[in-house]
């Protein structure tokens, strides 16, 4: 067994052959940021084309590839791996474990991601172009009418699913098995709780996605008729299977974000989290409800009225546990000794903007009015409020919050705050007008639009360029911190921060908690 206190290996093998949760977490985080920039570049192309009505820069087929790839890369390449990276870094340190439970599998979960995305990006250079059927890849667009590259897309999705399932099994095993003595379930930090529940969601729904793409594969290459009415199947079957995965997926993305915010707000309000128990139960309720609301994405496909009603009421129920969370965050801040460092700013931005996204979600949950909103820019605005201002803002907050612990250097606060305000303004300028063009009837996923939408689209595009540029400032700030930031040596970087990760030295040593701490 030998020496437990060996340091990191030298050179490339440190990363290729990594078994250390911190190294693997770092790789996940950098990979996801690279994907965030790629997906962001695609978004810039989309907004540049929509800057004015008419076809300016790209052809419609390429526009469709851009919307598809932007969605796929942001969901599967940027947001999900970012939170897995955060889980890798933080969960062992938060529960007093020496590492993840299954370190070699952990390495494999990461290393199959980059080739999968290379394959996905390579499809754009294949005959017939890349996937152009939207990130939801509805049949028959993705089967009968798909380009040949769809086969590579399908296998790419299989690999992403494999990676997610292995990563989740690892997290479940770590949380169940490696908690320090005295760390009972109801003492776990909320970030650990939200990831614990997220991991269950992933293990439950990624195989269903694998089933959906396998049915596509069989329909394309082996003449089955899952999504073909002529053979007795149904294209709508695809939507049911996809959204049975897709709706829990939405919570897979947002639950870890809830966890991050629940760690950061108490730290800067200098008060314990209000209603810890109710936060845990609310998270579990949201996870449960996420399995029985999927068809609210498809109110307009012609479901029986009983189905519409069931999915409508079940969807509205989600507002209850979500409301519990929002009120708990606000109550945590109430009469706290608050300061507004960059992580806190991003978290408050999260609470405000995520709540707006939640309310537009409630509007969309009403089946009769959804017939008006369906597939309009209102939907685009809604999910960007929860995906960008929800998941991405909280992820950014997490990086600013834990970066000093990771690398032992403090980021530039002025630059961080500037990043926040430019992001906040840029984000709202981009997406707030999209509510109105959507309600006025502009459909999503189109390269050209009617003249009356011109002004708001131009505003939207300008906002997108501002938001996109602000991410480069973020990248610069992070690199400048790692290379030459002001060293910090306090174990507790933030005055109000609580938790085991703040009891280890700063920067966190390669191996932490070789002997488990006793939690009282």
């Amino acid at each position: 067994m030998g020496d437990h206190h060996h340091g990191p290996a030298k050179g490339l093998s440190r990363w290729l052959f990594a078994t250390n949760h911190k190294d693997i977490g770092t790789m996940y985080l950098w990979f996801s940021f690279a994907m965030f920039l790629v997906g962001g570049a695609f978004a810039m192309i989309i907004r540049a084309e929509l800057f004015q009505p008419g076809m300016q820069l790209i052809r419609p087929e390429f526009f469709n590839q851009m919307t598809t790839m932007h969605g796929l890369i942001m969901v599967f390449g940027a947001i999900m791996p970012a939170f897995v990276g955060l889980a890798n870094w933080m969960i062992p340190m938060m529960i007093g474990a020496p590492d993840m439970a299954l370190p070699r599998m952990n390495n494999w979960s990461f290393w199959i991601l980059p080739p999968a995305f290379l394959l996905l990006l390579a499809t754009m250079f294949m005959p017939g172009g890349g996937p152009a059927f939207g990130w939801t890849f509805y049949a028959p667009l993705s089967t009968t009418y798909a380009p040949p590259s769809v086969t590579f897309f399908i296998f790419g999705v299989h690999i992403l699913g494999l990676s997610s399932i292995m990563g989740s099994i690892n997290i479940v095993a770590t949380v169940m098995n490696l908690r320090a003595p005295g760390m009972t379930y109801m003492k776990m930090p909320l970030f650990v709780w939200t990831w614990f529940i997220t991991a269950y969601l992933l293990i439950a729904v990624m195989p269903v996605l694998a089933g959906a793409v396998t049915m596509m594969l069989m329909d394309i290459h082996f003449g089955t008729s899952f999504f073909s009415a002529a053979g007795g199947g149904d294209p709508v079957l695809f939507q049911h299977v996809f959204w049975f995965f897709g709706h829990p997926e939405v919570y897979i993305i947002i639950l870890p974000a809830f966890g991050v915010v629940s760690q950061i707000i108490p730290a800067f309000a200098r008060k314990p989290l209000f209603g810890y128990d109710s936060m845990v139960y609310a998270t579990a309720s949201i996870a449960f409800l996420s399995f029985i609301v999927w068809a609210h994405h498809m109110y307009t496909v012609g479901m029986p009225i009983a189905g519409e009603l069931f999915f409508m009421y079940a969807t509205m129920l989600i507002a209850v546990p979500t409301g519990v969370k929002v009120f708990n965050w606000i109550t945590t801040m109430w009469r706290g000794a608050m300061t507004f460092e960059t992580p806190m700013l991003f978290c408050i931005g999260f609470v405000v903007l995520f709540t707006i996204g939640g309310f537009t979600g409630l509007m969309l949950s009403i089946a009769p009015s959804d017939f008006q909103y369906h597939d309009s820019y209102f939907v685009v605005a809604h999910f960007h409020y929860v995906m960008v201002a929800g998941a991405v803002f909280s992820m950014t907050a997490a990086v600013y919050y834990w970066l000093p612990k990771w690398c032992g250097k403090m980021y530039n606060e002025t630059m961080g705050k500037t990043h926040f305000w430019i992001s906040f303004i840029g984000f709202n300028v981009t997406f707030f007008p999209q509510h109105f063009v959507g309600l006025a009837g502009m459909p999503r996923r189109i390269p050209d639009y009617a003249l009356q939408f011109a002004d708001f689209n131009m505003i939207s595009s300008i906002g997108a360029f501002i938001y996109g540029a602000s991410q480069l400032l973020f990248l610069y700030n992070v690199i400048a911190t790692i290379v030459g930031g002001k060293p910090v040596s306090d174990e507790k970087v933030w005055e109000g921060a609580e938790g085991l990760e703040w009891t280890v030295p700063t920067p966190a040593p390669f191996h932490t908690f070789a002997t488990p701490p006793q939690v009282r």
Partner: protein, 324 residues
């Protein structure tokens, strides 16, 4: 016991750096790259064109399986060398448990598709309710029965009679796999397969009991019987598929009945083959190397859990694909 547990905590084993993951990635990516090209050559390529897709696929598979072999071998050696703490062993148990759960969810997708089609889509296509209002325009004359012996396409006279765009030819099966189609109950292969698979769950349990009381002979014998039953099951499955294609006119093209039948039984059969391989490896480990003791035999236990899972899925298949 308490002191032991504390000790296990302190001696947590973090493996040295390992090249296994990267090697497995290379094998996996080669395999799927080759597989995707094989499929695209088949569907979109020019017939008879030169291609090295198969070579890439097979080389990738060899690389992948070889890596897994080395990976599992080193895991086994670490355990035999006493490097695995009680805590790590529990992590393996949790890992296997949740892996099997993910497999359950994979089958759930296909069972879900089957139920959706049988309960809702079929009647709608045949004109039932509001959703079926277009029946006379699209699939006039189509009647829904399960097993679906005539596809909507053939009900309107084939592709030529179709009112909507053509996305393939879907023939009707000549004969279904249901019980009503056979002349004698003992001609019905699924029944035999059910008996075989259910008894194999019992035999693998008897092998486990033998191991628990330290009876190596009982273990080897009953595990060997289990593997034999698994091979017989796979053979019967093969015969059934052969009959379906050669005499029943039931193929992957036979509409949604053929699709769900072959996908559900096919994926189940693949999992049986996987489980059989796992059990066979445990048998070889026991016979050749004398592995496993009454209190340390996770490799066998995990394989037997997997085997019970495969068995339970078959019960679902037997009920919903063959009987009901």
């Amino acid at each position: 016991m308490a002191t032991q547990e504390t000790a296990a905590h302190e001696e947590y084993y973090v493996p040295e750096k390992s090249g296994m993951a990267v090697s497995a990635t290379i094998g996996l990516v080669m395999s799927i790259f080759g597989a995707a090209n094989v499929l695209n050559d088949m569907t979109f390529g020019e017939p008879g064109a030169e291609s090295n897709s198969w070579t890439i696929l097979i080389a990738g598979l060899f690389w992948f399986i070889g890596t897994l072999f080395v990976w599992f071998r080193s895991t086994i050696r670490e355990n035999l060398a006493g490097m695995n703490s009680g805590q790590l062993k529990k992590s393996y148990v949790l890992g296997m448990f949740w892996f099997i759960f993910s497999e359950v969810m994979f089958f759930f997708a296909f069972f879900g598709a089957l139920f959706y089609v049988r309960v809702l889509v079929g009647p709608w296509l045949a004109g039932e309710g509001e959703a079926g209002a277009m029946n006379h325009l699209l699939w006039g004359g189509f009647e829904f029965n399960w097993p679906m012996m005539q596809t909507p396409q053939e009900a309107v006279g084939g592709v030529a009679g179709q009112a909507i765009a053509n996305n393939g030819e879907f023939t009707s099966p000549g004969t279904s796999m249901a019980f009503s189609e056979v002349s004698h109950w003992y001609h019905w292969l699924p029944l035999w397969n059910t008996i075989i698979l259910l008894s194999s769950s019992v035999t693998v349990h008897i092998a486990h009991l033998g191991l628990l009381k330290g009876d190596r002979k009982q273990f080897n014998l009953w595990l060997g019987i289990t593997v034999t039953l698994a091979i017989i099951f796979l053979y019967i499955q093969y015969v059934e598929y052969y009959e379906a294609y050669a005499h029943f006119g039931l193929t992957l093209n036979s509409g949604i009945y053929g699709s769900t039948f072959f996908m559900l039984t096919g994926f189940h059969g693949f999992h049986v083959a996987m489980g059989m391989t796992m059990l066979l490896i445990q048998l070889i480990r026991s016979l050749r190397h004398g592995h496993f003791t009454s209190d340390d035999h996770f490799g066998f236990e995990a394989s037997s859990w997997y085997w019970h899972f495969v068995d339970v899925v078959w019960v679902g298949l037997f009920l919903f694909v063959y009987i009901l």
